[in-house]
């Protein structure tokens, strides 16, 4: 029986306004692969960043080899034998493989000149161990992502990592590359390295995990032993709560199609395509895990992502959209995910933000009529209940909810046909949240088609008339209201049918 190499006990971490981790406990044995599962925002990354020394916990204890330790920074983590391979690779592609492996701790001759011979021969040992047949002198920029990732693992091994954290290591790998990685992980395990494996892909977890630890809303949601691991069991633990449905029943959806897109390809997934239609007055929720390509799809429809070969039809008329201007002309508007940087100009006044996309409507003899602008802005602010001392206040000074209402106000004066919301209530307090839902509903009732991208499961299930679930750049399924459940959505979101 192997002994525990790592124990994290009752770890708690609070960020302003959110309890990210609430007394989370996880244990890893020597030579064991532990998979960490959970929905977006369940606390997986926060927990691992604490282990990697990026964040400090507010409470709880960490034991390495049975000794209580405090990990104050990344160097501490390295010294305790913890290696962290991030989802976003941390390699410098202008250096060679060996230079990356030994970055920051190069052996030197005469104290200044890098001992290239040594770093090359030493790197080779680790590359061999990972079954990687490349020269250590290869510039990293010439390697595919999968091999760059291996270099990062080699770097962790060269630092004597006994516990290796892999955060979504396969998110940008092909199938064969993934299999290769999994076999490397198995080899490492048999050589005594412990691995914490974070992935949204349940198939991989099933294949390599000795144990699955599931988090939900920042708490432990359960542990599955090797023989208990299966798709449904993991999903059940990830989801596991009853949703309170305090939303209004759906509006009656018109039968006629308002918006249709065929074979849309985004820059992120050029080989996958998306097709769907939305009826008049219908709210279609777009669910999926982070990186499924939902935002890119929205941006492509709005003309700000370079998409190709798509056929877009609005109210029966086929049209071509190659810029946001085209989209706006066709009544397609986007309320973007990052409202502070893409939705608004923070140091512009509310009035200037609201009128920006429709400025031509406020001109007389070629010049802007501030009076007309003010009148419309004032009306919009009253209609949407924007709480502000004046319409001349800079948008940057408003709360998240009020900012979101200003983004909405930009579009409402323009007669929308399709309104796309990307994470409409992220970072918004409960009160403003229900106001935004109400606005969305009111718009639908007026016949506007609504595409609502959300990672908030309650929002998806409660607000949508129909749910489209995306996985890796394509829609894996649609769910009607009566067949929608968290389990059904998650199943499609992780790529199942």
């Amino acid at each position: 029986m192997s002994k525990p190499i790592l124990q994290m006990q009752n770890i708690t971490k609070t960020f302003p306004g959110v309890k990210a981790l609430d007394s989370v406990t996880i244990e890893v044995l020597e030579g064991e692969v532990v998979a960490l599962a959970g929905e977006n925002g369940a606390g997986k990354s926060t927990l691992m960043k604490i282990l990697g020394g990026v964040y400090q916990p507010d409470g709880g204890q960490i034991f390495v080899n049975g000794n209580s330790v405090s990990i104050r920074n990344v160097n501490d983590a390295t010294n305790y034998g913890i290696g962290f391979v991030h989802q976003e690779l941390n390699v410098l592609d202008n250096l060679t493989v060996a230079e990356n492996v030994f970055l920051g701790r190069e052996p030197k001759n005469f104290g200044i000149i890098i001992d290239r011979k040594k770093i090359n021969t030493d790197s080779e040992i680790y590359l061999k161990r990972l079954g990687l047949d490349i020269s250590p002198k290869t510039p990293l920029s010439e390697l595919p992502i999968a091999q760059q990732q291996m270099v990062e693992i080699a770097k962790a091994l060269s630092l004597n990592a006994k516990i290796l954290i892999l955060d979504e290591p396969t998110s940008s790998l092909t199938l064969t590359e993934t299999e290769k990685l999994l076999s490397v992980i198995k080899d490492l395990r048999s050589s005594g390295v412990s691995i914490i494996y974070i992935s949204h892909r349940l198939g991989e977890i099933k294949e390599i995990a000795d144990r699955v630890v599931t988090l939900r809303d920042g708490k432990n949601a359960g542990v599955l032993q090797r023989e208990e691991i299966n798709h449904d069991a993991i999903v059940r633990q990830m989801v596991g709560r009853d949703i309170e449905r305090f939303y209004k029943p759906p509006s009656k959806v018109d039968d006629s199609t308002m918006f249709e897109v065929e074979n849309l390809r985004t820059s992120r997934y050029p080989n996958r395509s998306v097709s769907f239609k939305i009826n008049k007055g219908e709210i279609v929720g777009f669910a999926g895990l982070v990186g499924a390509g939902r935002s890119e799809t929205a941006q492509a429809i709005f003309g700000v992502d370079s998409s190709s070969a798509s056929k877009i039809t609005v109210e029966g008329k086929t049209t071509k959209i190659s810029s946001s201007k085209d989209a706006i002309r066709n009544g397609i508007f986007l309320v973007p995910e990052d409202r502070r940087n893409t939705g608004l100009i923070l140091d512009f006044a509310i009035r200037e933000n609201i009128t920006l996309p429709s400025l031509e409507k406020f001109t007389a003899t070629g010049l802007i009529s501030k009076k007309a602008e003010s009148k419309t802005s004032q009306e919009m602010c009253e209609k949407l209940n924007v709480k502000t001392p004046s319409i001349e206040t800079n948008v940057g000074n408003l709360s998240g909810g009020n900012q979101q209402k200003v983004v909405l106000a930009k579009w409402l004066s323009l007669n929308p046909k399709l309104l796309i919301f990307d994470e409409p209530t992220r970072g918004i307090d409960v009160g403003a949240k229900s106001e935004i839902y109400q606005l969305m509903r009111d718009l639908a009732e007026k016949g506007v088609a609504i595409m609502m991208i959300s990672s908030d499961m309650e929002e998806i299930l409660g607000e949508s008339d129909r749910i489209a679930v995306m996985h890796e750049g394509t829609i894996t399924g649609f769910l009607n209201r009566d067949e929608a459940s968290e389990e059904a959505v998650m199943k499609l979101a992780v790529g199942g049918q």
Binding site: G343, I345, L356, P357, L359, I368
Partner: protein, 313 residues
């Protein structure tokens, strides 16, 4: 607007102090001289200011004005082209060069600093090559007295370049602060992505800013050529791009883009010119000319930074 008022107060203080220290400052000739130069520099600076408001910069304007001077002299003196046509040609030329800058920056996605730095070097070299490094001029301006008049005469005692500056400033003020184009320009300067997400063609806005800068550089360049009446290809318009940047920044344009006003640029230009005049009148060695300018710009920017820090607290 507070920013511009602050710099205006500084200008007033400098003027009053200078008038007390050196009565020569308020003589008609000296004031006229200052006004004439403010007129020429101001037109350059408004063009630069528009570009800076988009977050860009145009380092080529000095060299472009040298090229313009050289070409204009050749058109008028050597080829005897009618004055009106000649002026039209050179202004179209500088406008086209502005367009080229804009296209390289937005469509080819090169950095504005690099693109216009190459312009600075290239047009200077070109001017020297086509003239064999010989100084060009307009002699007694026979046949194109009107042009000479525009650059170096007065109307009711007010230098014509200054009057032209005021006319251009009013037009640009309306365009920048009252038209859709102006609002879009500020929006793109503040946040290009959000502007794009509001349906603004930001590339087109940026290109048009460089075009306007090219156009104003052309007008100022014509005035400058006739004002000096002697275009030495290796030094004509040297460092003018930097005076223009300095005036715009002093007048409240941030190099980050998105801020600035025509009024501020005018005041900034005037302050710079009065400072040079001050160095001259107070008998400060003229070699310190640049040093004084540098210190004052630094003080102006520092004061602004401190005030902003306070406002944010």
């Amino acid at each position: 607007m507070k920013k511009e008022l602050g710099i205006f107060v500084i200008l007033a203080i400098v003027c009053v102090t200078l008038a007390i220290l050196s009565p020569e400052f308020i003589t008609a000739t000296n004031l006229q001289n200052n006004a004439r130069l403010i007129g020429i520099y101001g037109i350059f600076a408004i063009g630069m200011g528009i570009v800076i408001m988009t977050g860009g910069i145009d380092l080529s304007v000095g060299s472009v004005s040298a090229l313009l001077g050289v070409v204009l002299s050749m058109l008028l003196v050597e080829w005897k082209i009618p004055p009106f046509l000649a002026v039209l040609i050179v202004i179209l030329l500088t406008t086209a060069l502005g367009f080229l800058n804009g296209v390289l920056i937005t469509k080819v996605k090169l950095q504005a600093f690099i693109v216009t730095l190459c312009g600075l070097l290239f047009y200077r070299g070109l001017s020297r090559y086509v003239t064999n490094d010989n100084t060009k001029g307009f002699g007694n301006a026979e046949g194109f007295e009107t042009l000479k008049f525009l650059a170096s005469d007065n109307i009711f005692g007010i230098p014509t370049p200054f009057i032209l500056l005021l006319i251009i400033a009013v037009i640009m003020w309306v365009i920048l602060h009252r038209s859709v184009w102006g609002r879009y320009l500020f929006a793109v300067g503040r946040n290009e992505i959000a502007s794009k997400y509001s349906g603004i063609n930001s590339d087109l806005m940026i290109i048009s800013a460089y075009v306007v800068c090219g156009l104003l550089t052309g007008i100022a360049g014509v005035l400058l050529a006739f004002y000096t009446n002697s275009i030495s290809p290796s030094s004509h318009g040297n460092s003018y791009e930097l005076y223009a940047v300095a005036a715009a920044v002093l007048g409240g344009c941030s190099l980050r883009g998105g801020t600035g006003s025509i009024f501020g640029i005018l005041v900034g230009t005037a302050l710079l010119q009065v400072l040079r005049n001050l160095v001259n009148l107070l008998g400060i060695p003229s070699s310190l000319d640049f040093a004084v300018m540098g210190v004052v710009i630094m003080l102006g920017v520092l004061a602004d930074q401190l005030l902003q820090g306070k406002r944010q607290k």
